[in-house]
């Protein structure tokens, strides 16, 4: 019976042990925050500055398109940005074109997550902000919405006719808005091609982590004013605005987990190459 080396043991380690270590390690920051450093990247800083540069009381179109899967990542970003918009007394209209469940997020943000800020700023539904809900049709709907809002939306999320909402009297077409915030995953390309490109609408994107590398080219090309992604993006926005929130408090877990994964990858690679190096001469017939 041959004695197994530590590297071959590591190579064949039960994945359940790895999961156990992973969960245990990630649980540490939940109880004892580590305070790992966060730096604000340039795309996020540009995003925040683009919104800060808008005059108070600007009209914002906020497109949110993410499923409950993206809730954990994108909602903290949206909350951080909506907090900034409220502080600048901006008029905000929400809609989603690609994901039906996305219509649930704006009411959650205003009625649950930011209820205190909304009350303190004396924000009124229908006067300062409105939810148009889900408008199906994807690119076709976005295009029609840009031309004439009431072509595709007659009522809001709660079923109230748009004509009964005072805020909607200011909006007929997309050019009536000063700025657009797009969040989520599915609708980003469509929003860029149907809203930003034809109407030169100033736009920023709050995307999910796995969309960042796809979206960064639009930022570098100047199509969008700013870009941020995922929970880290939320933490960066909160850092830039000095308003600690869910993003900053969660970054320890995310960064800690990432560090552990990198450690696993390094150990895994070392054990793989050592095992390969040791088995090679034996295969060639050279006894060690």
């Amino acid at each position: 019976m041959t004695e197994k080396s530590i590297f071959s043991k590591l190579d064949n380690i039960d994945r359940r042990i790895l999961w156990l270590i992973f969960i245990a390690f990630c649980s540490i920051p939940v109880f004892y925050p580590l305070g790992l450093p966060i730096t604000v990247t340039k795309p996020t800083l540009d995003l925040v500055n683009a919104i800060k540069a808008l005059p108070d009381g600007s009209k914002i179109f906020f497109e949110d398109d993410y499923t409950p899967l993206g809730h954990q990542e994108v909602t903290p970003e949206c909350i951080a940005i909506v907090r900034l918009l409220i502080s600048k007394k901006m008029y905000i209209v929400f809609a989603s074109f690609y994901t039906p469940e996305a219509a649930l997020w704006p009411p959650y943000i205003f009625n649950v997550a930011l209820s205190k800020e909304v009350e303190a700023a004396n924000y009124k539904y229908g006067v300062n902000y409105a939810f148009l809900g889900f408008i199906p049709g994807g690119d076709t709907s976005v295009s029609a919405f840009c031309l004439k809002i009431r072509q595709v939306a007659n009522v809001d999320y709660y079923g109230t006719p748009l004509d009964q909402l005072p805020i909607m009297n200011n909006f007929e077409k997309i050019q009536d808005f000063n700025f657009c915030v797009t969040s989520g995953s599915t609708g980003l390309a469509g929003m860029l091609s149907q809203m930003q490109a034809p109407y030169k609408m100033p736009m920023v994107i709050l995307c999910m982590g796995n969309d960042y590398s796809n979206m960064v080219r639009y930022y570098q090309a100047g199509a969008i004013k700013g870009l941020t992604s995922g929970l880290r993006g939320a933490a960066e926005i909160e850092m830039a605005l000095n308003t600690p929130g869910e993003g900053m408090s969660s970054m320890d877990i995310v960064q800690g987990g990432f560090l552990l994964l990198v450690t696993f990858i390094i150990i895994g690679n070392i054990s793989y190459f050592v095992a390969k190096y040791r088995s090679k001469p034996l295969q060639e017939g050279n006894k060690r």
Partner: protein, 231 residues
């Protein structure tokens, strides 16, 4: 104790039970998740059809009849005799989708990208200069990798080197995407972990651990018995 939080905790642990091994509990929660997502989507879509097509139609606005008829024609795919009819709404959607896609996509995906690539290499900021050099080399090498009209192996060594470099650039890009993807999954995990450990759902963790230990012990006992029987 919040019942909703407890239900969310049970669902989370039910799905995580897959990490231990494939089991019926995981299958149940997987089905619940898919069914809920489908049900929500269906309810939203139905609500939209009712408010934007059915109500105006009932008030005498006949324009809503066209999308309703086109939508209804999709169901002819289930009737063999009239199956050809479902191609009409599909053709309608594909035609409009392609036309709309062409309009803006060329601007943002082609013209803007080309404009962004044609930048001066040396600028005042040394880091930006370095970035521009990487963009230049990355662009040329990746483009060389996709030249299929010349047989690369029979052409010059320079083209082969550039082509290989292009492959490494692409691998680096894909690696970044995988890393970002993992960061996304970490965010999901973080949300669930915080739900389990910062709320009343924390009481579910010892129960889950006890179930796993009991199952593990039972399985070991059964294996031991089976090997004894065989012996």
């Amino acid at each position: 104790m919040n019942v909703e939080i407890l239900i969310a905790g049970v669902c989370t642990l039910g799905v995580w039970s897959y990490l231990y091994k494939m089991n019926p509990v995981f299958r149940v929660f997987e089905s619940i998740f898919i069914a809920t997502a489908m049900g929500t989507s269906f309810a939203f879509a139905l609500n939209y059809v009712i408010t934007n097509a059915w109500y105006p139609l009932s008030k005498g606005n006949m324009i809503g009849l066209i999308p309703l008829l086109l939508g209804a024609m999709c169901f002819f795919t289930f009737v063999k005799k009239y199956r050809y009819l479902y191609r009409i709404p599909i053709a309608f959607c594909v035609g409009i989708g392609t036309a709309l896609g062409m309009r803006g996509a060329i601007q943002v995906n082609l013209f803007d990208q080309i404009r962004a690539t044609i930048t001066p290499i040396i600028v005042s900021d040394p880091l930006n200069t370095f970035n521009n050099i990487i963009i230049l080399f990355g662009f040329i090498s990746v483009l060389t990798y996709f030249i299929f009209t010349i047989r690369q192996r029979t052409t010059s060594k320079t083209i082969m080197t550039l082509s290989n470099l292009g492959r490494y650039f692409m691998m680096a890009g894909f690696g970044c995407e995988v890393g970002q993807g993992f960061l996304t999954r970490m965010a999901y995990f973080n949300g669930r972990l915080q739900l389990l450990e910062r709320t009343d759902a924390i009481y579910l963790i010892p129960i889950a651990i006890a179930i796993v230990i009991a199952d593990f012990t039972l399985v070991r006992q059964r294996r031991g018995k089976a090997s004894q029987d065989r012996a």
